[in-house]
Amino acid sequence: MGRMNKENDKDNVLRRDGNITEETDRKLQYLSRLTEQLQYRPVRQKIYREYEDHIDDETEYRISTGMTKEEAVEAAVEQMGDPVETGKALDQIHRPEKVLLPWLGVLFVLGLGMALVYYIQRDMQGQLWSLVSAAYPGRIHINRIDLFLCIIIFTAVTYFSYTKYQKFSVWAGLVLMITPVWYFMHRTGMGENICQILDDAVPRILGGEKGWIARRYYLLYVPIFGLMISYWKGKPHQLGKSLLAMALPLVLSFDPAVTDDELGSWGNFTFWTIALYLVFVFVMAVQLEIISLPKRRTTWIAGITFVLAKGIYMLYDFAVVCHAQWSVYYHHTGWNIMFTFFSEKRRQEYSTLWKTLLGEDSGVPLLLFHVQIMQGIKWIGTSDVLTQKLAQDQASADQVYLYITYGDLNTLMAYVGILPVVLVLGALTAFTVWLVRRAWRQSNRTGRLLGTSIGFVILFRIFYATAQAFSLTPGNHYLGLIPVFGGIGTEDYSGIAETLALYGMLISIYRYRNVS
């Protein structure tokens, strides 16, 4: 408070008088008592300044009416009222919201996921367990250290005011936009040594797939883009443009990726990510007047063009898949899963095609396994075909391991049944919407935008992963992580950390609404 007194004492009129000390002291006493009542320290300076300016204005006026300086200051402070009472009233307005309940809520869901992991592993018996655990000894367990780290990350993000990193949003956005380029280099093998270190950094600490930042978290671009636009615009943003910024990464996420074996899922993802990156850089250059074009029209045209291009591509992709010529690239992605689920005829065609193209039918049992678990049966010990294949095939054991350890929703549904999982996802959705609505209730437009976009990302992933598990949408394992449930296995605590960070940010936006 001493530092604040020196920096904020702008009372130049009083400085010229020999009795300065007493008058200034009277004012400072009032201001100190007022701001002491504010429990949230970051708001104290602003309020201190506002009240100090008011006292100074009142003092100047009273001096102009003929009062002495001492009388003027005394009267000015007197008419300010009781500092304690006023301070308490301000404290009620500026105190951060209590968020213990949402914090516990998220941890409860996390605990639910961990309990499922434990019971799935405990129930795994016989040949299936021995096969998978032989392939990955000691890996199927709950990593307590990683779990603890994830909770620390969640708590830290929750209780750290989001407004503090708002000013870094532009830099964060620029760094994030580089990641598609990095990912392209990684996937094509260019600059492998450089990429490897960055690529593996987070998975090394917390586990998970390689290419953690660049690869499947492009949905994080949504809140980052929104934050960048809000900050860079300098004034309340236009909701239309922000929604457009959110829509672009969303469009990118629909990547059926099974049209051509050469392109493949990663090729398509890389292509569209780079395209989005270039479009965004172009739009930014126009907005910053580096390129001289109409700003509003260019943004809308660029966005709509991108969406249309991707839409046309998806239609083309769907048409190709319908002909069942190239649809065997990745067994659980693509529109195929929809057809095989609904059609026995299609399953037979798929099996024949697989044998024709690859000379074997190793993909078929896993596909049938997929269909079986869609019917909600317990897979452990009942999937005879799968068990047989596992006995022969290390690659198949790899796939089963993936299902278990990456928190595949299908596995969860097969284990506990469809209804419980749907109920839990419904509750998670309602909880997320509740958080977003609370985050929305603030005058800070950046907070509103960021809260909305983060909530959008979470809800979209819940929706899409659920639809994918029911084979209602093309598969895409970049979106396969259900918040918190995702990565409940042994490998992907980076997925849990990411989801908890998203929830933490959402809770932080609610907690620190209008406290800046």
Binding site: K10, K46, I47, R49, E50, Y51, D53, H54, D57, E58, Q79, M80, G81, D82, E85, T86, A89, L90, I93, H94, R441, Q442, S443, R513, N514
Partner: protein, 108 residues
């Protein structure tokens, strides 16, 4: 004047002041006094908590401006604030009309 008559309409009065121009706190008290011909004298202890509360509700927003060479925190009414003002004006008109009828008063 009975201060309780003023307290219920503080929000409406502040929003009305800010509808025409942005102001800082001290300016608002002076302007309110002037326009009401010294009938209304809002206390500082009431003003700033109310302003901050209205800002938190999204009816106002603050920014740093300059007046006579000094930096001040100015308040500006938002779109939501304008809507709220219209709503409160409607409520006040209804209330005032009802009082007038009960008291059998007429406006000359």
């Amino acid at each position: 004047m009975d201060k309780s008559l003023l307290s219920g309409s503080n929000t409406m009065l502040l929003l009305q002041l800010l509808k025409d121009q942005d102001m800082y706190g001290y300016q608002m008290i002076e302007e309110l006094r002037k326009r009401s011909q010294d009938v209304f004298e809002m206390k500082v202890g009431t003003l700033y908590p109310l302003l901050h509360s209205l800002e938190k509700s999204g009816l106002l927003q603050s920014y740093e401006g300059e007046a006579a060479g000094k930096k001040r925190i100015y308040y500006q009414i938002t779109k939501d604030g304008r809507q709220e003002l219209e709503r409160k004006k409607g409520e006040w008109a209804e209330y005032a009309g009802a009082v007038m009828h009960v008291m059998q008063l007429q406006i000359d």
